[in-house]
């Protein structure tokens, strides 16, 4: 199977400061791969390994192709001039065009991100393929993809015909990040760059941002000072809530 592993490269959420007036300011922070993307790659590599297939890395916009190259992917494509869009369907449209132009892709593995839970499913919609979301691991059996996910207290295995999109969710941080040697070697490997024009795209974002505000959250009632006093105050508050025995 030919598996496209989609990954992103963006500022991490902790680089944003929300001011009291609700405006958001981004500090200059290093870019990070999507939280799920190491699991995306693991799933893609497992499927390729099971089927004597191959993995092609795919990223858009700021994506740093060496991220995938340092993790054993030899072929990677970047849509370098793709803008950052609010509409996840518009992002999916760019990814779909890129997948189509790769040709012969049987499976797309893409992060099922908490912040962007619409990208994987909209991508499947744009491609007209089936999708299994919330996947944590996958294998090839009988020419089909067996995708595993947890639904409540049940581990469910869904068998999907190809072509199919898998929305992959990481269960933990990346176990072992590549070292300096791999990173330096990766920077020397070739990257195929395409443009929106090559893909025949001229993306518009139909969604405008009108503003941001701070949610009215009630911060925790904090008890500090002497542990004995704080503990008594907490117990009183919890009794008052009716949550103690």
């Amino acid at each position: 199977m030919r598996v496209a592993a989609v990954y992103k490269w963006a500022r991490g959420v902790d680089g944003a400061t929300v001011h009291a007036d609700g405006t958001v300011q981004w500090r200059v922070t290093k870019m990070v791969a999507g939280e799920d993307d190491h699991a995306v790659l693991a799933v893609a590599q497992a499927l390729a390994g099971d089927s004597d297939g191959s993995v092609v890395g795919l990223t858009i916009g700021d994506g740093d192709a060496s991220w995938a190259l340092a993790r054993g992917v030899t072929e990677t494509v970047s849509v370098a001039d793709a803008p950052s869009l609010t509409d996840e369907a518009a992002t999916a449209e760019i990814l779909a065009a890129a997948v189509t132009s790769l040709g012969g892709v049987d499976v797309v593995a893409v992060g099922d991100a908490e912040e962007h839970p619409g990208v994987a499913v909209a991508l499947a919609g744009k491609l007209g393929w089936g999708v299994v979301a919330g996947v944590t691991r996958a294998a090839v059996t009988g020419g089909r993809v067996a995708a595993v996910r947890r639904v409540g207290d049940v581990e469910e295995t869904v068998s999907a015909a190809t072509p199919v999109v898998l929305g992959v969710a990481a269960e933990a941080a990346e176990p072992k990040a590549p070292g300096m040697k791999e990173l330096l070697a990766a920077r020397k490997r070739p990257v195929t760059t395409t443009t929106l024009a090559d893909l025949g795209l001229d993306p518009v974002d139909p969604v405008d941002q009108r503003g941001t505000r701070v949610p009215e959250v009630t911060a925790a009632r904090l008890f500090d000072g002497e542990p004995a006093d704080a503990a008594r105050a907490l117990v009183a508050a919890l009794r008052n809530e009716g949550v103690l025995r």
Binding site: P117, G118, E155, P227
Partner: protein
């Protein structure tokens, strides 16, 4: 006439919340229930104008119906689609959004109409900010929010959705995991994180769980990396999702991946020696202090 709004449901979670969000579009609201008859009945009671019911074939997941539902949404001229974040419901949303050329926005908490525009408020940056977005086009929303009670009144009529094309997906196995741990249904849970320094300190924590008649749980590293507590007791995105009346976090930072597991807890309290710990932003009550002093004090206070 205002364009119709469809809520796409594959389970009962947040059904009424989604219908209320959908009401913001001002048009008639239909719940498309992809699942067993009980789901259609629950949908009918959640306050929509009608329910369209489609039952997947045996051994097929709900998302196998995505092509049928997408085609029907296009036929009906749907302008607004709503689903929860549940993977199956989102799969339906992605297909239908494409069929009606809708933009996709996640984290939606409120919807309204302003002239020709649909205006959505959504939670972003791990809940740190609410963002107002507007579009003149069609909109597919992944909803976020808390469970609300179903409205009073007669249930909406349930009509079958005509059969159509299906995606080639099959459920090949369903295995129960980690259900037996006791932490799932506990009324009170004491949960420990890396603020606890040694496995031997579980004895101290044990005095607190006894005093509270609580079950023990933990953050992921305590179970996964350290193995101090069985794996089926860690809480969070990748672990258990629980809804106790009291969740007392001891030495837990409160990272978003952890807090996802206790979104439905009634009261969250935390003990942490760092006043800036993220957990104090989501907890209801907190004690700022060293857990090695606060836990014994708490046990004492509970005896009083």
């Amino acid at each position: 006439m205002t364009a119709p709004t469809w809520v796409l449901a594959t389970d009962t979670a947040l059904l009424t919340t989604c219908v209320e969000l959908a009401r913001g579009a001002g048009g008639p609201v239909t719940v498309v229930a992809a699942g067993p008859r009980e789901l259609a009945d629950a949908a009918a009671a959640a306050g929509p104008d009608r329910v369209l019911w489609a039952e997947p074939e045996a051994d097929r997941p709900a998302e196998s119906l995505a092509p049928t539902i997408a085609a029907a949404a296009a036929d009906a001229g749907v302008r607004v689609l709503v689903s929860t974040v549940a993977p199956a419901a989102r799969a339906l949303l992605g297909a239908a959004a494409t069929a009606v050329s809708a933009s996709v926005v996640a984290g939606a908490v409120a919807l309204s109409v302003d002239g020709d525009a649909l205006v959505v408020e959504r939670s972003a940056l791990d809940g740190a900010v609410l963002e107002t977005l507007a579009t003149a086009g069609a909109l597919a929303l992944v909803a976020r929010g808390d469970e609300v009670a179903a409205p009073d009144g007669a249930p909406a009529p349930v009509e079958p959705l005509a059969a159509g094309p299906v995606a080639d997906l099959r459920v090949v196995s369903r295995t129960p995991v980690g259900g037996a741990s006791g932490v799932r249904d506990a009324e009170r849970v004491v949960s420990i994180g890396r603020g606890v320094r040694a496995k031997a300190d579980l004895e101290l924590i044990g005095t607190l769980t006894s005093a509270l008649d609580a079950e023990i749980a933990c953050s992921m590293p305590i179970a996964d990396d350290l193995g101090w507590v069985p794996k089926e007791r860690y809480i969070g995105r990748s672990g258990q999702h629980i809804a106790p009346r009291l969740y007392l976090a001891v030495g837990i930072a409160g990272m978003p991946q952890h807090m996802e597991g206790v979104r439905d807890a009634k009261v969250v309290a935390a003990i942490n020696n760092d006043p800036a710990a993220p957990i104090f932003r989501t907890a209801d009550y907190g004690v700022v202090g060293d857990l090695y002093e606060v836990v014994p004090a708490l046990v004492e206070a509970l005896r009083e």
